[in-house]
């Protein structure tokens, strides 16, 4: 059982404060959704936790199993068990998905340890079958010329192979049509389990039809202004974010 704690976190881009005191605790097996209007600071929260160099932590702390991760490099955080599914995944021309994932898994082994290639491919194909991904996919360069849906499936496949303790899924539904959304969301739902804590960042409720969260948090102007269970998402969908802006902004 692992625990990811975000304690009164403040994040700025340049001089501009974006996240202004967020507190959140996620346990293994739990699925939390963070919803909110554009500019609420949802994506900033995810990137800051992952250690993006453009985001300065100006206050608070992030703890993984009781230990602060703020002095760790992004790759150290990743190897410690944090995974960020990107809203806009980068393209890596000339590097196949299979080689990229192999390098990522190799980086998790100790000095002198060598990844077993045949076991690796066996596992890769298993995960691909589970996620209903064509095997030809792995020989393509990472995200290079991918459609929006392919990029997101590629993120889910990486998540399946890396098996993080906590996954931060940043607007995984953005830019997808309903069919692509369904495929990606069902893939993520399959990875749900007692060993994985998930933080879903989304603008719309529709993703939550496929991955039903245990907790829903509403973010506005850099703060979590309301938390509840899955019914909060439905309420939000019915009433719109104006409801949050009007009624829920704390004094």
């Amino acid at each position: 059982m692992s625990l990811l704690e975000i304690n009164d976190l403040h994040v700025a881009i340049g001089e501009k404060p974006i996240v202004r005191g967020v507190t959140l605790a996620i346990r293994s097996g739990e699925v939390h959704a963070v919803m909110g209007p554009n500019g609420a600071g949802k994506s900033t929260l995810a990137k800051a936790v992952a250690g993006h160099p453009d985001y300065a932590i100006t206050g608070g702390d992030v703890l993984l199993d009781g230990r602060s991760i703020l002095d760790m490099e992004p790759d150290e955080r990743a190897r410690a068990g944090l995974f960020l599914a990107f809203q806009y995944p980068s393209e890596i021309p000339g590097v196949s998905i299979a080689n990229f994932l192999r390098a990522a898994l190799q980086a998790r082994l100790g000095d002198g340890e060598e990844l077993d290639a045949s076991a690796y491919y066996r596992r890769l194909y298993e995960k691909m079958d589970m996620l209903k991904i064509d095997r030809k996919f792995t020989s393509r360069s990472v995200n290079d010329g991918f459609s929006g849906g392919e990029k997101k499936r590629c993120e889910i496949l990486q998540m399946a192979m890396i098996e993080p303790k906590f996954a931060l899924m940043d607007e995984t539904d953005s830019g997808l049509d309903i069919d692509a959304l369904k495929i990606v969301a069902e893939g993520a739902e399959r990875l749900r389990g007692p060993g994985l804590g998930m933080l879903l960042i989304t603008h719309y409720q529709r993703l939550l039809n496929y991955i039903v969260p245990d907790f829903v948090h509403v973010m506005h102007e850099g703060r979590i202004v309301k938390s509840g269970d899955k019914s909060l998402a439905l309420e939000l969908d019915a009433k719109g974010y104006d409801w949050v802006k009007k009624d829920l902004v704390p004094a």
């Binding site: 992952a50 250690g51 993006h52 160099p53 453009d54 490099e73 992004p74 790759d75 990743a78 190897r79 995974f83 960020l84 990107f86 995944p89 980068s90 393209e91 890596i92 021309p93 000339g94 590097v95 080689n99 990229f100 390098a103 990522a104 980086a107 998790r108 360069s141 990486q158 890396i162």
Partner: protein
């Protein structure tokens, strides 16, 4: 140029040994060698005469060398188009000839332990060391090791060093020597013509497809010691050969000069593939002239990877002399901090229906600078010629610099020419993405670079693409602060 008489040392003492007393900290390894012949430092007629006499050369060759020296002395440095860094070469401080005095060895067992240890330190894997049993490896200015696989010898292929070739095959050597690259081609081809030593000579008789790639390893092992190998490869009608050259040099504190000349002759319908992976130390001036002459329906392909060195200037070329001949240059250059890779290609179309292809990829890291310089020449009176030129540059961090000078001269309207160039960057987002998957910054950059050159590297023989990947990994690790 110094007019002082040169001290010629025969049989060195410890004080004469240039490798003695050098800090051999990690990465800077060098082993004491006993140099039996030494031309001292500096260059004048006596140096050239000394080299010629030690090698017991014929009068025509001594004349050739002395004339080349005059050409070298008369020619200015090409700083009107090339970097002024060339002015920092102190020709008086360079040692022009050293020999360990050993005859080329026939088997791996006979190779001195010192040399084996150096190969080991260079990280050449076990299989590859075994593979070396079928190669010629140059150690300093003479081949320390030479062995032709029996199958290759049975095919009638001559594969010896240039000194031995002059002695044993003078008629064929002389026929082509200096014909593809004349002494006066440039200042450094003149220098090489004056003082050359070592290098390979290959002759493939008609109708033979050489079953094994022929391979040579070169390295520099003495401070201030310039290496001037001379390679001549002649492939007779309808024959094929692949030659592989790998260079790794230990690091020394003062600048070293490497100035080779490589001439290829592909007779009617012949195919030559010449592959180079070079990794020079940061202080090496690597100024190499490489050119091939392609007769009718012949094909010459240069695969050239340049990593390291202070300054590399190298533009492998093909003179497409015969109808329907083909020339190709695939080039990869990596310029790290303090390095300048000035590389490219030359394609001279001199017959109808000739075609050429140039794909150049450069990577600039930190303060590294890479320059693509290309010449494609198609004259008006020809018809049906084709050229494709692609130059791609990858920049890693904002201080790096890249320039492209593609001079494509096409006259007449019966030709097809294509040119594409691109510049891309390894962005911070891309590095963050890869780090988020658990890769260190060095591993991430290495992967980006390997991806960038992947489509070219795939065309290399397996052991070379593995070695290239390893070199890039090392370079990228070192470039992360």
């Amino acid at each position: 140029m110094s007019d002082e008489p040169q001290t010629i040392a025969l049989g060195p003492t410890a004080a004469d040994n240039p490798a003695a007393g050098i800090d051999q900290s990690s990465g800077n390894f060098s082993y004491d060698m006993k140099y039996e012949f030494d031309a001292g430092s500096g260059l004048n007629e006596r140096t050239v005469e000394y080299i010629s006499s030690v090698k017991k050369e014929a009068a025509w060759l001594r004349e050739f060398r002395l004339n080349a020296l005059k050409t070298f002395q008369a020619k200015p440095l090409p700083t009107h188009w090339a970097t002024r860094d060339l002015e920092n070469i102190n020709f008086d401080k360079i040692r022009y000839y050293l020999s360990s005095g050993q005859k080329p060895k026939r088997t791996w067992d006979e190779v001195p332990e010192d040399i084996k240890r150096t190969f080991e330190r260079l990280g050449i894997p076990e299989q590859e060391r075994k593979f070396l049993a079928g190669v010629e490896a140059q150690f300093d200015s003479e081949a320390a090791y030479s062995n032709i696989k029996e199958t290759v010898a049975k095919q009638g292929v001559i594969f010896v060093n240039s000194t031995e070739a002059l002695r044993e095959h003078p008629e064929i050597f002389r026929k082509w020597f200096g014909k593809v690259i004349p002494t006066s081609d440039n200042k450094f081809s003149a220098l090489n013509s004056a003082v050359f030593s070592g290098g390979s000579f290959i002759y493939v008789p008609p109708g033979i497809k050489v079953s094994h790639p022929l391979q040579a390893y070169f390295r520099i092992n003495a401070e201030n010691f310039g290496q001037f190998e001379r390679t001549l490869i002649i492939v007779d009608e309808g024959s094929e050969v692949t030659y592989m050259e790998g260079c790794t040099a230990p690091k020394f504190s003062t600048a070293t000069l490497h100035s080779a000349v490589v001439e290829l002759v592909a007779l009617k319908g012949a195919k030559i593939q010449y592959i180079t992976v070079q990794n020079w130390a940061n202080n090496v001036f690597n100024l190499v002239t490489k050119r091939g002459l392609a007769h009718e329906e012949a094909e010459i392909k240069w695969i050239d990877c340049n990593i390291g060195s202070r300054l590399t200037m190298k533009y492998p070329g093909v003179v497409l002399k015969g109808r329907k001949s083909r020339g190709e240059v695939l080039s990869i250059a990596l310029a790290n901090d303090g390095q300048h890779q000035d590389t490219g290609a030359k394609m001279v179309h001199a017959a109808d229906e000739t075609s050429s292809n140039i794909i150049a990829k450069s990577i600039s890291v930190g303060q590294g600078r890479s320059t693509y310089r290309g010449v494609v020449h198609i004259p008006r009176h020809l018809k049906g010629c084709k050229n494709n030129t692609e130059c791609d540059a990858l920049l890693i961090n904002t201080n790096s610099r890249t320039d492209t000078y593609p001079a494509i001269t096409v006259r007449g309207d019966r030709h097809a020419v294509q040119h594409e160039a691109s510049v891309s960057k390894v962005s911070e987002e891309q590095i963050f993405y890869m780090k988020q998957r658990g890769l260190t910054e060095g591993q991430a950059m290495s992967l980006s670079v390997n991806g960038f050159i992947n489509d070219l590297a795939r065309q290399f023989p397996m052991e070379y693409s593995v070695e290239l990947k390893r070199l890039i990994d090392l370079e990228m690790e070192g470039s992360v602060g």
